[in-house]
């Protein structure tokens, strides 16, 4: 076994470097090139509940628009017999990836309701996905709903998805739960095999000229790794071996990957760095990781994983409030105003 080998959600991976959801992972051809570049597993982009529903509803509406109104034009489109929805295309892509790829293929589902549509979890399993990542992406913008209610409904989604599939299940969460450790434990208790930390919430921007809200994608910055580092360190100790942990957001270099593993991650997931530097970046990161391991005399990932987790750390409080004090003390004027450190 390679010294970089790791296990994530019960899947044996060649290295701990996983391609998280990105435009590259949605196409079989480009996923293959990611694998060739060195990715040890591929996470597909999320199948969004809203998108699936909206596509179906809107397409139905426009195809029927004007039908049955006018004697000369009883409808406006040819009859479409075989119709592939975005969900079906997604399932087809899973199948194609399984045919082309050797590394595990992890599908991703973005649910906001536990409605009937979680049947897709089952379909994803049938399509051959090795594991499923459930993406809980929700903003607590409803003033009538309290935190515990929202958490309960999120757990309900996890439970429904868990019930409908037997493949390993990872749950990708945001850092915005009020009692994150408790919620993480509940998710694992509900049946998740692993946690992915964290969802990056793309914050919308404004166009000052048109005064319109515009979606704007910002790729992650290395400093964003701090948040998952802290929480993986804490959760690794609490969850021990009950769940896999994946670090997502801010993994850009081999050193970043090493840090993630040190605090207890089983895998480090990358998107932004790959989007910036290309698929071959996996090989670079892998090389850097190996060099770091050589320099620090680690012989395997298993050996280094969790060695600086909360429990294993020589200064556990550093992962909690004390860290804040330290940072303030070490603060100097930033060199790059775009890479300001995150205030906890």
């Amino acid at each position: 076994m390679s010294r970089l080998a790791t296990n994530y959600l019960g899947l044996d991976l060649r290295t701990p470097l996983v391609a998280s959801a990105s435009p590259f992972t949605g196409q079989p051809e480009s996923a293959l090139r990611m694998q060739e570049g060195g990715a040890a597993a591929i996470v597909l982009p999320s199948l969004f509940e809203e998108e699936v529903v909206r596509e179906e509803v809107e397409l139905s509406q426009v195809l029927e628009q004007g039908a049955g109104s006018f004697a000369e034009a009883l409808d406006y489109f040819p009859t479409v017999d075989a119709f592939e929805s975005s969900a079906e295309r997604y399932l087809a892509v899973i199948g194609q990836m399984k045919e082309k790829l050797d590394v595990p293929v992890i599908a991703s589902l973005n649910a906001t309701s536990s409605g009937g549509w979680v049947r897709f979890a089952k379909l994803i399993e049938e399509a051959g996905a090795d594991a499923l990542e459930l993406n809980l992406y929700r903003l607590g913008a409803d003033p009538t709903r309290d935190g515990s209610g929202m958490e309960a409904s999120d757990l309900e989604v996890v439970r429904r998805v868990r019930e409908s599939t037997d493949i390993p299940l990872a749950v990708k969460i945001s850092p915005y739960y009020s009692a994150l450790a408790n919620f993480a434990a509940s998710v694992v208790e509900t049946g998740a095999n692993g946690l992915v930390l964290f969802n990056r919430f793309y914050q919308p921007d404004l166009d000052a000229d048109t005064r319109e809200v515009v979606p704007r994608l910002e790729l992650s910055q290395p400093w964003e790794l701090r948040l998952p580092l802290r929480w993986i360190a804490i959760l690794r100790s609490q969850l021990a071996t009950r769940a896999s942990l994946a670090a997502s957001s801010g993994v850009h270099t081999g050193i970043d990957a090493a840090k993630a593993l040190l605090v207890g991650a089983d895998v480090a997931m990358m998107t932004s760095a790959v989007l910036r530097k290309g698929r071959e970046h996996f090989a670079t990161v892998e090389k850097e990781l190996v060099e770091w391991m050589d320099a620090n005399e680690y012989t395997s990932v298993a050996e280094l994983r969790g060695s600086v987790s909360y429990a294993a750390s020589d200064d556990p409080s550093a992962f909690e409030r004390a860290n804040y004090v330290k940072i303030l003390r070490s603060w100097n004027a930033p060199h790059d105003p775009t890479s300001r450190p995150q205030m906890p």
Partner: protein, 1200 residues
């Protein structure tokens, strides 16, 4: 053999057979035959093979003339070939049809027979088209029902192969083509058993081949032609026998009996009616009733019309016959009788003249016209015909179904007469709107019952002439015996009103019989609804003892996420109340059909439909009908007191659905109607209407320019006009340095707005404190309608600004001009009408419009009301629609007519000059008329001239003639308007010719990139990658660059515009086109329902079309300057990939879901097309090109 029953319409029944038996299918869309071509194209795209395992080659041509040419060619090579058409389309095929028949080539053209346009166009059914083909040498076989349409289709295909004579198989447009009926299908085995393989081999052997070469189509001289023409006689002579044999073989196989002519009725009949087509159904029912009462009457059904089986016809008549009425569904003015009548008379006369005449005395024969343009023909009318035969002195030539109070030809129907309907039959009527899915649900109900029970089922659907907010009436019959009633329901057991708002407009319960059930979609609960019912409805409910049930379908549909599609709420209620099927069983069938229809698109729609169905039955409630009427007040159509007499006498009854009652004298003799009648049709179809906020408004006029219905108006006026304004009338100071001290009002016409939201989406004026608020915003119509009606009335009373006070060349300047095209029936959010309206604003008081057939001729000229209107001086566009294919030529002729009149007027003026004021004459002849100011001055001069001429006295013929032509001295424009189907395809030859002339005509192409009016068939304007009918697999070839072709001449002004992308450029291009003294071509990007997009976003789609480079904006103005650069690229370099634009429209998006790889490839090619066109246009923009044109091309160049 297994019996296979289904419910389909006549078009599909026919197309199924034609497809199975063909190798080449040449098609072109025309109502009502388009669905046959669509089916064939769809099946071919899906890879469905014909009877011999090969997928037929289905090709759309540029016109029916092209389809006939392709058909002729394919046949000459020995390929089994077919086409479908109707009306003018058939007429365009006639030249080739003579050839095909002359060459004795087996072929079939299936015709859903439709009215040929005369004083007016009509899409509906009669035999005027097929009758024009009766001289071509084609055999003609008529079907009278959906079942027959299938069966005769097969018999035609079989017989033509044996006879070598080509066949027209026809059935009545709409009545048969669109009626859904239970029929027994013929199977592939039936086809194999009946189609003679040896005839196919013989046909193939006759095909042209270089391996055994022949020459056909020679030119012949007096010495040869005549004999050659007679050489084929024996084939025509043999044809009736061959058809009879095919019918016999068919009967042996299927058990269904047909004859060339068939007699039904009393064996000793004295009175016999002869007809063909769907009218047979109503006549046969009448016959049954009469013969049951012992009357000696009969009916001859003619099936083979050409070659006319004269002997068989005479033999079919009982010897007892004394008088015969021949009914023709066509009119031949000037003929001694209509065609079938003449054939019958000739057959009888020859029969009497034979050695053994069948009759002792020649029966009396009378001829009648009925059912033109799908006019109802019911048992009461058929009864009138039998009665007329019994009269002492019957009318030799008569009409039935109308009241002719001019030439008194009509006979009165027996309105009391009823066909005794079989026990157990249920008749149901449904009043709905196009947008609510009523028709779809009813078609589905017919299928459920027809295909899952022992009952026979029939569905027929009537639509009004509007595309937005159209009313639909569904007529459904279900019964234990075959249904032959080829007419509308006259006594319904069940009536459903799917739209509460229709209650006051249509007298729907007049169609209900005593004790019927009435299902009402009501926003009011059961205990409140009664007082909201109009008086007439209350009366009918009480007097007829009708059971009333209500349900709030809109609420349920909205709550389950179905929007306004209330069909799946209403459908289960029908089943629950009608008892046609046990409710549980019906619900299971409805759910299964929902699953079948929507399952392939995903589960969400299915789930929502299921939820609607389940809630529907729970919330259906019966209402106790009180004893007395509690509501009073008038309902129905009202028009203002100052409405013209014609509107009161004719338009109002047409609007009320009572047009059938209008007598002949009510109508213009030549098809000329007054314009400006849409304003009397207050439809109030919008649920939300735009309300203006003067505080936020920036006076830009964008809301007005984009409004597809001219329902948002902009007026600038002097403050004094505000006196007497009703409360709530809004105005603001008009910001303009050209016109200080004026007021501005933006006003919605609340009853004419369709609620399309395009104006709101385009409004750039956002509130500073609350961005979502704009200067115009949608509000509930119910809350605002009364106030806005008052405001609109007042607004209408304010005179429009003088045309020369603001420069026209801006959005604002164009929008203060009065639209002379208003409130059309176009789709909500239509992308075409804003351009048409803009033309009417800029030039409307001095133009003649030649309008190609298509959407613009339908929303522009379909009765009962028409949107072209007049200004306060009574001036406005004069409009005509000639044909689909000749509009450019038609418009050029109008131009020549204008010039001829002008030339005469100038000549007369010069001749009379010595007797008139010299300065006035000189100025009238010479003053420029390019600007509104100059035009106003010229109008004044002409008025002075008229006064001066009148003073001269009208004894002088020159004076009389000049008085008649004086208005021609004011410059007149010609606008030629049509869609891409006309300009790119069927009318391109003429368009090309007109562009190559130097005539001063302006051509506006409303490019929707598809045949919109007939339901979205591909044209040569359809872009690569788009899915359309006739391009189900995504169009593979790129869009034709019509502008580039036109620019190649160098003499025409050419512009490509898109209102939503650059409204100023749009206005500018139209003004430049008008000003250009030669031909001008303006190609306008027009969003359309057939694009599969949210029509409220029309302008945003146009913007993205331009931003992606998909639709570059440009103007090409020929110039004589040495270094002039005539081509100006008005849009910026593409800033978004074409993928971003096309992914928002279903016409492209479907392909990515049906054929992802092909879609991906076509998308790449589309981007390449865009890139290449941009590169090409950029180079064009840099090219210097000099055009050597003459100064006044319209007067000199084309003179011989």
């Amino acid at each position: 053999m297994d019996q296979q029953w289904t419910c389909i319409d006549g078009n599909e029944a026919t197309a199924r057979v034609a497809y199975a038996l063909s190798e080449v299918i040449a098609i072109y869309p025309i109502t009502p035959s388009s669905p046959m071509g669509e089916s064939a194209d769809g099946w071919a795209a899906a890879g469905k093979p014909n009877l011999w395992g090969v997928v037929p080659d289905v090709v759309e041509m540029q016109s029916e003339a092209g389809a006939a040419g392709a058909l002729h060619g394919a046949l000459q090579r020995g390929a089994l070939s077919v086409s479908f058409t109707a009306s003018q389309g058939l007429l365009l095929m006639i030249p080739n049809m003579f050839k095909i028949a002359g060459e004795l080539t087996p072929a079939v053209i299936h015709v859903s027979a439709r009215t040929v346009a005369t004083h007016a166009l009509s899409i509906f059914g009669d035999h005027s088209d097929v009758m024009h083909a009766r001289t071509t040498g084609w055999a003609m076989l008529a079907s009278a029902s959906v079942q027959e349409a299938q069966d005769m289709a097969l018999i035609a295909h079989v017989a033509t192969l044996r006879a070598r004579v080509p066949f027209i198989h026809f059935f009545d447009g709409f009545r048969t083509s669109h009626e859904v009926l239970s029929i027994e299908l013929v199977s592939d085995d039936d086809l194999r058993a009946l189609v003679p393989e040896e005839d196919i081999l013989a046909f193939r052997a006759r095909g042209l081949s270089p391996d055994a070469p022949l020459v056909r189509g020679t030119a012949q001289n007096p010495d040869a032609f005549f004999q050659g023409r007679e050489a084929g006689n024996r084939f025509h002579l043999a044809t009736p026998g061959i058809v009879a044999a095919a019918m016999e073989a068919f009967e042996r196989r299927t058990g269904r009996h047909y004859g060339l002519v068939e007699y039904a009725g009393a064996p000793d009949a004295e009175r016999v009616v002869v007809l063909m087509g769907s009218g047979i159904g109503a006549t046969e029912e009448t016959l049954q009733t009469l013969t049951a009462a012992g009357e000696r009457v009969g009916l001859v059904k003619v099936r083979l019309y050409r070659p006319f089986p004269a002997e068989q016809f005479v033999a079919a008549l009982p010897q007892s016959v004394r008088s015969i009425a021949v009914l023709d569904r066509t009119k031949e003015p000037g003929s001694p009788g209509e065609p079938l009548y003449l054939d019958v008379v000739a057959a009888l006369a020859e029969g009497m003249d034979s050695a053994h005449p069948r009759f002792a005395r020649m029966p009396r024969v009378i001829g009648g016209r009925y059912g033109l343009s799908s006019k109802e023909f019911d048992p009461g009318m058929a009864k009138a015909v039998f009665d007329e035969l019994a009269a002492q002195d019957p009318k030799r030539h008569f009409t039935v179904g109308i009241t002719d109070d001019v030439t008194h030809l009509s006979i009165a129907p027996d309105t009391e007469f009823r066909y005794q309907r079989p026990a157990g039959e249920v008749q149901a009527m449904f009043f709905g709107m196009g947008s609510d899915g009523t028709v779809g649900a009813n078609k589905n109900s017919v299928k459920i019952i027809g295909e899952n029970t022992d009952l026979w089922a029939q569905g027929y659907f009537v639509y009004d002439s509007k595309k937005a907010g159209s009313v639909t009436v569904s007529h459904l019959r279900f019964g234990p015996t075959p249904i032959r009633s080829t007419y509308l329901i006259e006594g319904a057991d069940f009536v459903a009103c799917h739209q509460f708002g229709l209650l006051g407009k249509l007298a729907m319960l007049e169609h209900a019989r005593d004790g019927a059930t009435f299902l009402l979609n009501s926003p009011f609960p059961a205990d409140e609804v009664w007082d909201h019912l109009p008086e007439g409805i209350q009366e009918q409910l009480i007097h007829k003892g009708i059971k009333l049930w209500v349900i709030d379908a809109d609420k349920i549909a909205a709550e389950v996420g179905m929007g306004n599609r209330i069909n799946t709420v209403m459908q289960p209620c029908f089943f629950a109340l009608s008892g046609v099927l046990p409710t549980d069983e019906a619900v299971a069938h409805i759910k299964a059909s929902v699953e079948k229809a929507y399952g392939k698109r995903g589960p969400v729609i299915v789930e929502r439909n299921f939820a609607a169905i389940d809630r529907s039955l729970k919330e259906l409630t019966q209402v106790e009908v009180p004893q007395a009427v509690t509501h009073s007040g008038s309902s129905g159509i009202t028009v203002p007191d100052d409405a013209p007499d014609f509107v009161r006498r004719v338009t109002v009854p047409l609007l009320a659905g009572e047009g059938d009652l209008l007598p002949v004298s009510a109508f213009p003799v030549d098809g000329s109607f007054i314009t400006g009648t849409t304003k009397y049709e207050k439809r109030a179809i919008a649920r939300e209407i735009p309300i203006w906020d003067p505080e936020l408004c920036i006076d830009c006029g964008k809301c007005a320019i984009v409004c597809p219905h001219a329902a948002i108006r902009m007026k600038v006026y002097e403050p004094a006009w505000l006196e007497g304004a009703p409360e709530g009338f809004r105005s603001k100071d008009f910001r303009s340095k050209d016109l200080p001290g004026h007021k501005l009002t933006i006003q919605v016409a609340p009853d004419d707005c369709t609620g399309c939201v395009v104006c709101v989406n385009v409004c750039p004026a956002k509130s500073k404190t609350e961005v979502r608020r704009r200067a115009i915003g949608m509000e509930p119509a119910m809350e605002h309608r009364d106030a806005e009606r008052r405001a609109w009335q007042f607004f209408d009373s304010i005179p429009p600004l003088a045309r020369d006070l603001l420069p026209r060349a801006s959005v604002k300047g164009s929008q203060v001009l009065e639209p002379l095209f208003e409130f059309s029936g176009a789709c909500a959010g239509c992308g075409e009408t804003p351009y048409v309206k803009l033309v009417s604003q800029l030039f409307g008081d001095r133009i003649v419009v030649a309008n190609a057939t298509g959407c613009s001729s339908i929303y522009g000229g379909n009765l009962p009301t028409t949107p072209w209107t007049v200004d306060r001086d009574g001036r406005g566009p004069a409009w005509n629609n000639s044909l689909f294919e000749d509009t450019a030529e038609f418009g050029m002729g109008m131009r020549m007519g204008s010039e001829a009149r002008l030339a005469r007027a100038r000549l007369l003026l010069e001749r009379l000059a010595p007797r008139l004021d010299g300065a006035l004459v000189r100025e009238t002849l010479e003053a420029p008329q390019d600007t509104e100011l100059q035009l106003r001055a010229q109008r004044r001069r002409v008025a002075d001239l008229v006064t001066a001429l009148q003073a001269l006295g009208t004894d002088d013929p020159d004076v009389r003639h000049l008085l008649a032509l004086a208005d021609d001295l004011v410059s007149k424009g010609v606008w030629i308007i049509g869609g891409d189907g006309w300009a790119y395809d069927i009318g391109f030859g003429g368009l090309d010719h007109v562009l190559a002339s130097s005539r001063n005509v302006n051509i506006l192409v409303l490019d929707t990139e598809v045949y919109s009016n007939t339901g979205g068939q591909a044209s040569k304007a359809t872009p690569r990658g788009a899915v359309a009918k006739f391009a189900s697999f995504g169009k593979a070839t790129p869009k034709k660059d019509l502008g580039a072709l036109a620019m190649a001449y160098g003499t025409a002004y050419v512009a490509q515009i898109a209102l939503g992308a650059n409204d100023t450029q749009t206005v500018k291009a139209l003004l430049e086109a008008d000003a250009w003294p030669g031909p001008s071509l303006v190609i306008a990007y027009s969003t359309c329902t057939a694009h599969g997009m949210d029509m409220s976003q029309s302008m945003e789609h146009m913007r993205d079309a331009v931003r992606s480079g998909y639709w570059p904006l440009y103007r090409f103005q020929p110039t004589a300057t040495e270094d002039g650069q005539p081509f100006k690229l008005d849009s910026r370099e593409p800033s978004i990939p074409v993928r971003d634009f096309v992914s928002t429209e279903a016409r492209f998006a479907i392909l990515s879901r049906t054929h992802p790889e092909r879609s991906e490839r076509l998308l790449e090619l589309m981007q390449a097309d865009v890139d290449e066109r941009w590169r090409y246009y950029e180079q064009l923009a840099a090219i210097s090109r000099t055009v050597h044109s003459v100064d006044s091309p319209q007067y000199e160049e084309d003179s011989p």
